[in-house]
Symmetry: C2
Subunit: 385 residues, 2 copies
């Protein structure tokens, strides 16, 4: 099997990436530098993997490399970079390069999380393509192998996820080998982020199992599973690398918690009101999986307050029903508008945006980073993908 | 839910463990010291976990802590310890304590591997008790929660596994914080072990899917999945901590590869010829799961060489049949004796024992370690559990 990822291997180890960010820094060169760091790391790893097993290289490594290099918005490395810059980290030079390389390892953590999440949720589509476990199962099916193709696909995807997590640690550790003090400082947020991610994922799983309707539950899940993992801890990590003082770290963490939570609320809205062609996911995918969002919790509470038993029944029976048609999803979406739940969530989004941007004024944050983080906060609220 | 693991939490952070090994070192104090290091680490972690979420602490942390503290033969930390001693590492003092603490993190890697393996294999029993995913599914069932209990159980067990893997890295890194040079040296084998474990697990999965009959395949799987992970790399890691020279490392790795492979062959024999009361696993569990062992590969080859089509058919249809009765398993076991496969595997075990113990003579290994490793080699071959 040849996948686009095999290109990494045939090119072998690559040249070190260019300086991560020019003085007139825009987003695209930063993302490109993250991709280049990942390409270089995976290129070096590929040599060891081919020596271990060429079939593993073809079937697992190439798929992981392709996934990491071809997709992803680089949200987490970019936040870590701006945490670094916010705390006075240099714009270029060897330390800036090492900091961005360490931050790029967050994309491997993300590959781990997505591969594993898709297995747990039995999600068939990721980034507009078949999810990893589906592709592995398709290999099994097309080759007519022994056993259950779906079980094979799930196991193989979990192993690819493991590899990504193990390599994230390696990439982080290696990137900072000449900055041992910075590495020790950054290990706190790096470590906390991993634990919070697992706890957040468990709370999400359990809230679905328990049909938990409390509005506080999705807020806690969002804080741990999305905000801490995607914004707060990456910012903290970047700031710790730059030896930030407590005041700057606290302000960045508050910003990250607010904007990360807002990002997730926006994601929940996009699940029902977004365009699949833009989001890369089927409409109502989270609803069908039984995800307990703030949007649904508010809708259920309001329907109960109004004594609207029919609305309660429609919502209750829709959550976690894999057989919902797109028309059913639209019915739920319209009902949540009628109940004022969509508006309530959008208001909360606005409040989080205010909270996040205000917290940036609480500490001596480098102006260039402050401006960029304000811009990104607005982007998180208005995004359509 | 209260589990035995909650004891770790209620006791909070514990006293530092005693010096790991007295001058008249026997196995039991060493194992006890490993457990004490794990208890101390988990005790400290429990404080942070309770702050994050008390339900997570009750349902996931306690189960993981119980699994890690109450079971396990401590094979990998003990090998790492003897790698340290083989290369001249001290028997006591702060460096010896740190080395054993770092080695104890291997038990968390093992908890990760077992929780995840049991999900992949749908194994119901582990160490004579319900596997983690079965216990989580039972929680779901007894509480009458929403959704599929088995899927919930699998997801929760995978998250507990993730936590164990993430914490293994933390424990390893923290244990060696005052020995940064040793940590850098040990990171090579630590890292290689993780990758090899994943690759080995994938090769095992794929050999089952492909009904691979080549005798070389189980040997490669054993080398990566068992020998490298359980013996070779732990020994390498301990020796690297003690700044061993190349000659000592190579001799220990050769020993580890041989004895680790022998350990797995013994495991394969115990699956069919062991006593469930002693092994803690159902008889024929690997056979039912479709595991492609050397024992089966030799049996199949011999049956084909003899033109015994009935024997080929019996073996072929038994591998991966979850409906086999214990009597069916006994039929396969007896057939493999009649085909000479059991004897061939036992001969290979003997050859590996010779190879392993001979390699110890190739390098200046500390005599106390040499003697212990010889003793352990014999133990690996003759064990019944």
């Amino acid at each position: 099997m040849t996948t686009p990822g095999s290109e990494v291997r045939t090119q072998g180890a690559l040249e070190p990436p260019a300086v991560p960010c020019s003085s007139a820094c825009r987003e695209d060169p930063l993302r490109a530098a993250v991709t280049q760091h990942l390409k270089e790391f995976l290129g070096r790893r590929s040599l060891a993997i081919v020596r271990l097993d060429t079939d593993f290289a073809d079937e697992v490594f190439d798929r992981l490399a392709w996934f990491v290099l071809e997709g992803g918005k680089r949200v987490r490395p970019v936040f870590a970079w701006w945490g670094w810059r916010a705390a006075g980290g240099a714009d270029d030079g060897p330390e800036a390069t090492a900091a961005l390389r360490a931050a790029s390892a967050l994309e491997l953590v993300q590959a781990f999380a997505l591969f594993q999440d898709d297995v747990m949720d039995r999600s068939a589509v990721r980034r507009g393509r078949p999810a990893a476990h589906v592709e592995f199962a398709n290999d099994h099916r097309s080759e007519g192998w022994f056993g259950d193709p779906d079980r094979y696909g799930e196991s193989a995807a979990l192993l690819a996820a493991d590899l990504a997590l193990v390599w994230a640690e390696d990439m982080f550790t290696e990137a900072l080998r000449h900055m041992p003090d910075a590495r020790e400082r950054a290990r706190g947020p790096w470590r906390a982020m991993h634990t919070e991610m697992v706890v957040g994922q468990f709370l999400d799983l359990r809230s679905q199992a328990r049909s938990d309707e409390a509005e506080s539950t999705p807020l806690r899940v969002n804080r741990l599973k999305t905000a801490a993992y995607s914004a707060e801890r990456p910012l903290h990590l970047g700031a710790a690398l730059a030896d930030a003082d407590e005041e700057v770290i606290l302000a960045l963490r508050r910003y990250g918690e607010a904007i990360g939570s807002a990002y997730q609320l926006r994601d929940d809205l996009l699940d029902l009101y977004g365009e699949p062609a833009q989001t890369g996911k089927a409409v109502g995918a989270d609803l069908r999986e039984g995800k307990r969002t703030l949007l649904l919790a508010v809708g259920l509470r309001r329907a109960r307050e109004r004594g609207d038993r029919k609305a309660v029944e429609v919502l209750d029976s829709a959550i976690g029903d894999p057989g919902l048609t797109d028309a059913d999803v639209r019915t739920v979406a319209d009902l949540l508008v009628a109940l004022g739940a969509r508006e309530a969530v959008e208001q909360r989004l606005g409040a989080l945006l205010d909270e996040g941007t205000r917290s940036l004024a609480d500490a001596p944050i480098a102006p260039v980073a402050c401006e960029e983080l304000r811009r990104r906060a607005h982007g998180a609220i208005t995004r359509v993908t």
